[in-house]
């Protein structure tokens, strides 16, 4: 570079550059494709050759099976990595700025740490901890440092002191009536919660952003019809719909996520539409349009990123609702009891609250903290992701 004469704008021979700008992929998209392709192949293999009952990895001797929800979860993780984490690394200046802003909100930083724990626990926990298993004999074991009257347990795993059964490291958070380890249950619940968080967010964001921007840019009748459709979505009784589906088809976690996120994007779409309309009035949009950029490019490169940063907050605040909804349904016994979610754990302990409160408390506290964390982070993001407002007040 140093040897070359510096390029100057008035010496560019435009005729030698091809008029049609080639379809060039960003490094993020290439990475995304490279990561998704093996996943898709694995899914194909799973679907075609392994069959319903067989474990995905049985060919190499692993008992782990992947269901469609897992595939989708991994896919959303890839999206998260290539379009959120990687850009943060690619734009260190902006990242440092956001971080400096974000850091000012102490509770949010702690919350981020907590969510990090839930994320890593949910992702790696099931790989190191075996799934909680039924074992009637070791039911109602107390957590570490607590004890329970011997009369309430069939077999005490730890020591018995003065007729009190003591907790052990074998079951650090105790066990349920059926002898399932609460700690393992909480860790597996993290996976479920992360799946709910990532998948619903992806679905809501994808539909909401597409719907909102198309509506904003199409205008006229299209806009009118799309927005009335959003009204319908917003006023739809999702819970009743879910009950109906439950009675007809039976409802697993996948169905829960699908139904609830399919009716949750209305607000996001509306927000994206109004935000797109206001962004498209900004002078930088005019400046890009006058450079000859296509509408698609303007929307993709400028409108969506500017809208996205503000809907990240909205989406973050949407997640707690889904987690709570799942927990509530599970607690009421409407969920899929095979899914080891926090709600199921809560539900399993509700009858033993009098003498074994840990069964409800452990997942309850974890759920509470997680929901609180999402709310704190949403609040902090609202302040951090708004550089214009900051620049004006400074």
């Amino acid at each position: 570079m140093a040897s070359k004469k510096p390029e100057q704008f008035d010496r560019v021979d435009w005729s030698e550059l091809s008029e049609s700008s080639r379809f060039d992929l960003s490094i993020n998209s290439i990475g995304m494709l490279a990561a998704t392709l093996p996943l898709a192949l694995l899914w194909l293999y799973d679907y075609q050759f392994v069959g319903e009952r067989g474990a995905t990895f049985q060919a190499i001797g692993l008992g782990r099976n992947l269901d469609p929800l897992d595939y989708f979860f991994v896919f959303t993780l890839f999206l998260f990595f290539f379009y959120l984490v990687l850009p943060l690394y690619q734009n260190p200046r902006m990242t440092r700025y956001y971080w400096a802003e974000f850091r000012r909100n102490r509770p949010a930083v702690v919350s981020l740490g907590w969510l990090g724990v839930v994320f890593v626990g949910g992702l790696l926990g099931p790989l190191v901890i075996s799934a909680p298993e039924q074992s009637i004999l070791t039911g109602h074991q107390p957590p570490m440092f607590l004890s329970i009257n011997e009369a309430n347990v069939a077999t005490c795993v730890g020591d018995v002191v003065n007729g009190q059964c003591q907790g052990t490291w074998q079951h650090p958070l105790g066990t349920t009536r059926g002898g399932k380890d609460v700690f393992a249950g909480v860790v597996y619940g993290m996976t479920i919660s992360m799946q709910i968080a990532f998948i619903t967010t992806t679905i809501v964001a994808a539909i909401g952003i597409t719907f909102g921007t198309v509506s904003a840019y199409a205008g006229g009748w299209v806009d009118e019809i799309m927005m009335r459709f959003v009204d319908v979505i917003l006023s739809f009784p999702t819970f009743l719909m879910f009950l109906l589906i439950l009675y007809i088809y039976g409802a697993g976690l996948g169905m829960f996520i699908l139904v609830f996120s399919a009716f949750a994007w209305g607000g996001t779409a509306r927000y994206v539409r109004s935000k797109s309309l206001s962004v498209s009035e900004e002078e930088f949009i005019k400046a890009t349009r006058i450079s000859g950029a296509s509408t698609y490019r303007v929307v993709r490169k400028h409108v969506v990123p500017n809208v996205a940063s503000s809907i990240i907050t909205q989406l973050t605040l949407l997640i707690p609702g889904f987690l709570l909804a799942e927990a509530q349904l599970a607690f009421l016994g409407i969920g899929d009891s095979a899914v080891p979610s926090w709600g199921q754990l809560l539900s399993a302990g509700r009858s033993d609250l009098a003498f074994a409160p840990w069964i409800v408390l452990s997942p309850g506290i974890v759920l509470f903290l997680t929901i609180l964390a999402f709310n704190f982070i949403g609040d902090a993001l609202l302040d951090a992701l708004n550089p214009e407002a900051e620049a004006e007040s400074a």
């Binding site: 550059l17 930088f284 000859g292 400028h302 500017n306 550089p387």
Partner: protein, 444 residues
Amino acid sequence: MTEEPLLSVRNLEKHYPIRKGLLNRQVGAARAVDGISFDIAPGETLGLVGESGCGKSTAATSIVRLEDPTGGEVIFNGGGRAGATRNGDGTHPNDVARFDDRELKAFRRDAQMIFQDPSSSFDPRMSVGSAVAEMLQIHGMSDRHRRRAIVEDLLDRVGLSPEDYDRYPHEFSGGQKQRIALARALVLNPALIVADEPVSALDVSIQAEILGLIADLQDEFGLSLLFISHDMSVIREICDRVAVMYLGEIVEIGPTDRVFADPQHPYTEALLSAIPTPDPRSTATGIELTGTVPSPTDPPSGCRFHTRCHKVIQPDDVDLDQSSWRGLLNLRDALAAGSVDVDQIRENVRTGGDLAATPDAVKGQIRHEFDLDETVSADEMESLLDAALDVALAGDPEGAAARLSERVTTPCEERVPERTSHAADHESACLLHERSSPPSPADD
């Protein structure tokens, strides 16, 4: 024509439809730009000046086709398009309004724009270097290093440092952002830059720097500029020629020094006299314009300025004090528009202490509110005014307006003034000149 102009705008119109009702029927149009024409020569700067709402920004966005004009031609001869002649059907091959997508994209390289508000003219989530380089990318320069080299060089030329490439808009001051905006407008090496109030949002000390930079860059690269501003002192400094707009029309156009030294249109005159001069000893009192700018949906007939003009023409057989004449016209218009509420005025006279509220007191109040306190100098007019006010007091304002209209009429509202030429290249559109000078040889 000795030299072909770079840009020639002919009868450009931009009307915004006004729709109402369930079926979105068009009930009218806001005539934001209503038939303006001018030329810009290569390397020349034309100023477009006017008050807010006169349509100057709409004119700019229509010329560069950020919005599609609803009528007229914008013929752009830069960027290798020179020498084209009209097609058989009378259309011009270089008419920007008729460019297809491919031609339009090529045109984008030759005509660029700078905007007013530095705080919103950059994507807050994109580094300023990428924002400038994006221009190159859109036009097919896929070599990232080459883009960066060009932009860094350009940032250097507009007075920033190449290291600023990776910084974000919020890290710059308004003046610096406007420098980057200049870089963005320049990076495709255009022949024409349309600058829409580029310094209005800046402090005076920064304005001077940016204007200096614009002038330098213009000299260096032979740019033509269409410079839009409401600030006459900025226009005076940077423009070779100036066009004054009022309500979507150009009322005067000419070389800047001539227009400033010898304004021909009363509006230009008023605009110039309104500029505060930084001289505490100056005691010159400017011309005060009364009234407000009418709505572009329903512009006044004839000369659009006649509702505010301080030199509005009197009929041949009337010779009143100009301010009384103005007052009479205003009263007539207010009566006709039904905005004089006689009952209300009577009520006020009463609450003001005069319980009887005699017709004379009410009339006096109306006259006072329309600056007609003193007796109108011509007896005939005074009695007409009195008679008309009687009609108004009787509860018939339309009748009063009709009564006044018998005599209170001005040619300015009846005839659209033609452009008259005063000197080389200096034209204005005012009936005063049409009357005083012999009919000018067929212009246009």
